[in-house]
C-alpha cells in the first residue's frame, strides 16, 4: 500500500515524463493492433474441408477468372461425382470494373445459391430469375458502398441491387447474378470458369476431390474452394506473406518501443535509485517499485492505443483492396498479445536496468547526473 501511494505521488509529480511514455506507447499499440487486424483479416477464417466445395477450373489460366471451361467438363464432373455430390453446377467468375472499383461478378443457378455456395440473405430479396437484378455481398459495402435499392450499370446494362448476402469462405467483394442472366450479359462468350461440386453429406471430400482430379482432362484442375481463395489472396500483392511480415514488424516495434522507453526513463533516474538505496531501501523493493511504475504507464499507454484502435476499426471494420475485402478488426488474441507484449516488455525494460543499478555501488549511482 505504501509502495502504491509512493508510486501515485511519484507519477503525479512526474506527470510530464509519465504522459510522454503513455503517448509514445499509445500510437505504437494502435498501429500494432490494426496491422494485426489486417494480418488476421488477410488470412481469413479456416473453413473445414467438409463444408467446402470442390471446384473444377482451368488448369493453366493465369487466374481462375481468366479461364474458360469446355461445356463437357460439367457433364464429366456430374458423371464422376455421381451420388457423392449433393450438387454440381456451373459458375461464372469474372472481375469487373465498376466505377473506380474492381469487384468480382459471380453467377450461379439461383437454386445453388444457398445449398452449394452457402449464401445467406441478410436483407432485401434474391434477384428474380432472368431479371436485370443482382445481390451484393457484405464486402461490397466496404468496396463500393452499394446497398439494396441502388442501381448499378454493368457492361451497359443497369442492374438493380435487390439484397445483400453473407458469403462464407470468401474474402472478396462480389456481386451475384443468376447464371442465365450473366450468361446473356456476356452473350455466352464468357462460358463459365468453375464447376462447383458440393459433396453429399457423409462423403469424404478429399477422396471426391482426388477422384475428380484423376478423371479431369489435362487442361482442367481440381481444388478445394479455400485453395482458390488463398491463391487469389496471394495474388493480391502477395498480401498473405506481406501481412505476416508486417505483423512481425509490429510485434517487434511494440516490444522495442516499450523496452527502450522504460529503460531510457529509468536511465535518467539512476541517481534517484542511488538516493533511495542510501536511505536503506533494498534493491529488490526498488526494482519492484520501478517495474510496477513502468507496468502502470505501459498499461495506460496500451489502453489508450487500444481505445484508438477500437474506435478506428469500429468506424471502418473492413477495407477493400481491389475486390479483396479485409476485416481489420483485431481478434481477441491480438488484444491479449498486445497487452502482454506492452506490459511484459515494459516490465522487463524496467527490471533489467533496475537490477543492474541494484548491483552497482551506491556511490556511483549518486554520481549520476
Amino acid at each position: 500500500m505504501t509502495l502504491l501511494r509512493f508510486l501515485a505521488r511519484d507519477l503525479t509529480a512526474d506527470w510530464r515524463r509519465g504522459l510522454l511514455t503513455v503517448l509514445a506507447i499509445a500510437p505504437i499499440a494502435t498501429a500494432f493492433l490494426i496491422v494485426m487486424g489486417i494480418s488476421t483479416g488477410l488470412r481469413g477464417p479456416e473453413i473445414p474441408l467438409s463444408r467446402q466445395n470442390v471446384l473444377v477450373v482451368s488448369a493453366n489460366a493465369l487466374d481462375t477468372a481468366s479461364g474458360r471451361l469446355d461445356p463437357a467438363v460439367l457433364d464429366l464432373a456430374r458423371a464422376t461425382a455421381g451420388e457423392d455430390a449433393a450438387s454440381v453446377g456451373p459458375m461464372i467468375f469474372r472481375p469487373i470494373k465498376a466505377g473506380d472499383t474492381i469487384v468480382q461478378l459471380r453467377a450461379a443457378p439461383l437454386a445453388d445459391w444457398t445449398e452449394v455456395h452457402g449464401l445467406a440473405l441478410l436483407n432485401g430479396r434474391l434477384p428474380a430469375p432472368g431479371a436485370d437484378e443482382m445481390a451484393v455481398t457484405e464486402g461490397i459495402a466496404a468496396a463500393t458502398g452499394w446497398a439494396p435499392g441502388d442501381r448499378v450499370e454493368i457492361f451497359g446494362t443497369e442492374f438493380a441491387v435487390t439484397g445483400s448476402l453473407r458469403a462464407p469462405g470468401t474474402k472478396f467483394a462480389s456481386v451475384w447474378m443468376d447464371f442465365d442472366r450473366a450468361d446473356r450479359l456476356f452473350e455466352g462468350a464468357a462460358g463459365y470458369q468453375i464447376v462447383a461440386v458440393r459433396p453429399a453429406p457423409g462423403t469424404d471430400p478429399v477422396e471426391l476431390r482426388n477422384r475428380l482430379a484423376a478423371a479431369a482432362p489435362p487442361a482442367v484442375a481440381v481444388y478445394f474452394e479455400s485453395a482458390i481463395e488463398n491463391e487469389q489472396a496471394a495474388r493480391s500483392a502477395t498480401a498473405g506473406r506481406l501481412s505476416q511480415v508486417a505483423a512481425g514488424i509490429a510485434v517487434a516495434a511494440l516490444a522495442f518501443a516499450a523496452f527502450n522507453l522504460t529503460a531510457l526513463t529509468l536511465a535518467e533516474r539512476r541517481r534517484d535509485l542511488g538516493i533511495a538505496r542510501a536511505l536503506g531501501f533494498a534493491p529488490g523493493a526498488l526494482s519492484t517499485a520501478v517495474v510496477v511504475r513502468s507496468v502502470l504507464l505501459a498499461a495506460a499507454g496500451y489502453a489508450l492505443g487500444a481505445a484508438a484502435a477500437a474506435a478506428i476499426t469500429v468506424a471502418r471494420p473492413e477495407v477493400s483492396v481491389r475486390s479483396f475485402v479485409v476485416d481489420v478488426s483485431p481478434t481477441a488474441a491480438s488484444w491479449i498479445t498486445g497487452a502482454v507484449l506492452a506490459i511484459g516488455v515494459s516490465a522487463a525494460g524496467a527490471w533489467v536496468p533496475a537490477r543492474s543499478a541494484g548491483r552497482r555501488p551506491i556511490r556511483s549511482l549518486l554520481e549520476e547526473r
Binding site: T2, F6, R271, I275, R277, A278, L279
Partner: protein, 229 residues
C-alpha cells in the same frame, strides 16, 4: 557507579580503497586508521581529492573497502551482506550530502518521509513525523514545495531533517555547506552542532572549510589517502 565505557562507534584499521578512472588507478585511501567515540563531532578536513568523501562513503556503507577493517556501531561493514548493509543504512546512519540528493519528484515532506518509510513506517505516519521534523528546521511552511522550489540552504535543511528522521546514532555529512552561502552555512552548522550536543548524535563531517573547525569536538586531516591527527 560510573557507566561502563562505550565501545567506539567507528573503528577503521588499514582501510584502503582505489578506483579506476579514465586516467588510470586512483588510490583514494592508503591505509586509514581511525577511531571515533560515540557522541563526538569529528571534522575530516583536507584538500579536494584527498579521500575524504571516499572515507565517508565507506563508513556509511555506500561502498566497500578494498582492504582493511571497518566496524561501525557494531557492524563489520567488510563482512556484512548486502541485506545487512541495507539494514545498516536504514537504522544506523543518516547522510547529508553536498548536493542535497533530494528526490526531485517529491516535495520536502515526502522526501523526509521516505527515510521513515524505508524503516517500515506507514505513509501517513511518516508524513506526520516528517512535518514535525521540518518544523524543527524552520521549514514547516515549505513542506509542500519540491526541491526545485527551495533555495540551497532550504534543501540542505530538508536533507538534514531526512538524515535524522530515523533517529540514527551516526550522522555523516559530506561538505554540507559546500553549496550554500555564508549565512546559510552558519544555520546548517548550528543545526548539526545542536543535534550533536542535545541529542548525542555522533557527527562525522567532511569539509575543506577550515573556518568551521570550531563546531567540532575534534578534527583530523586526510591528505593523499592518509590521516594525520
Amino acid at each position: 557507579m560510573a557507566p561502563p565505557p562505550q565501545p567506539p562507534i567507528i573503528r577503521a584499521s588499514a582501510l584502503a580503497k582505489a578506483y579506476r578512472r579514465a586516467g588510470g588507478r586512483v588510490e583514494a585511501l592508503r591505509g586509514v586508521d581511525l577511531v571515533v567515540e560515540a557522541g563526538e563531532f569529528l571534522m575530516v578536513m583536507g584538500p579536494s581529492g584527498g579521500g575524504k568523501s571516499t572515507l565517508l562513503n565507506l563508513i556509511g556503507g555506500l561502498d566497500r573497502a578494498d582492504a582493511g577493517t571497518l566496524q561501525v556501531a557494531g557492524t563489520d561493514l567488510g563482512a556484512a551482506s548486502e541485506r545487512a548493509l541495507d539494514a545498516f543504512r536504514r537504522t544506523t546512519v543518516g547522510f547529508v550530502f553536498q548536493f542535497f540528493n533530494l528526490l526531485p519528484t517529491l516535495d520536502a515532506r515526502d522526501n523526509v518521509a521516505m527515510a521513515l518509510v524505508a524503516r517500515g513506517g506507514d505513509w501517513d505516519g511518516a508524513r506526520r513525523r516528517a512535518s514535525d521534523l521540518l518544523e524543527k528546521v524552520d521549514l514547516g511552511h515549505r513542506a509542500d514545495h519540491r526541491p526545485s522550489e527551495l533555495s540551497g540552504g532550504e534543501q540542505q535543511r530538508v536533507a538534514i531533517a531526512r538524515a535524522v528522521a530515523g533517529a540514527p546514532p551516526l550522522l555523516l555529512a559530506d561538505e554540507p555547506t559546500g553549496d550554500v552561502d555564508g549565512e546559510t552555512t552558519a544555520t546548517i552548522m548550528d543545526v548539526l552542532s545542536g543535534l550533536n550536543r542535545t541529542r548525542g548524535v555522533t557527527v562525522v563531517m567532511v569539509t575543506h572549510d577550515i573556518s568551521l573547525t570550531g563546531y567540532a569536538t575534534r578534527h583530523v586531516e586526510l591528505r593523499d589517502g592518509r590521516i594525520s591527527p
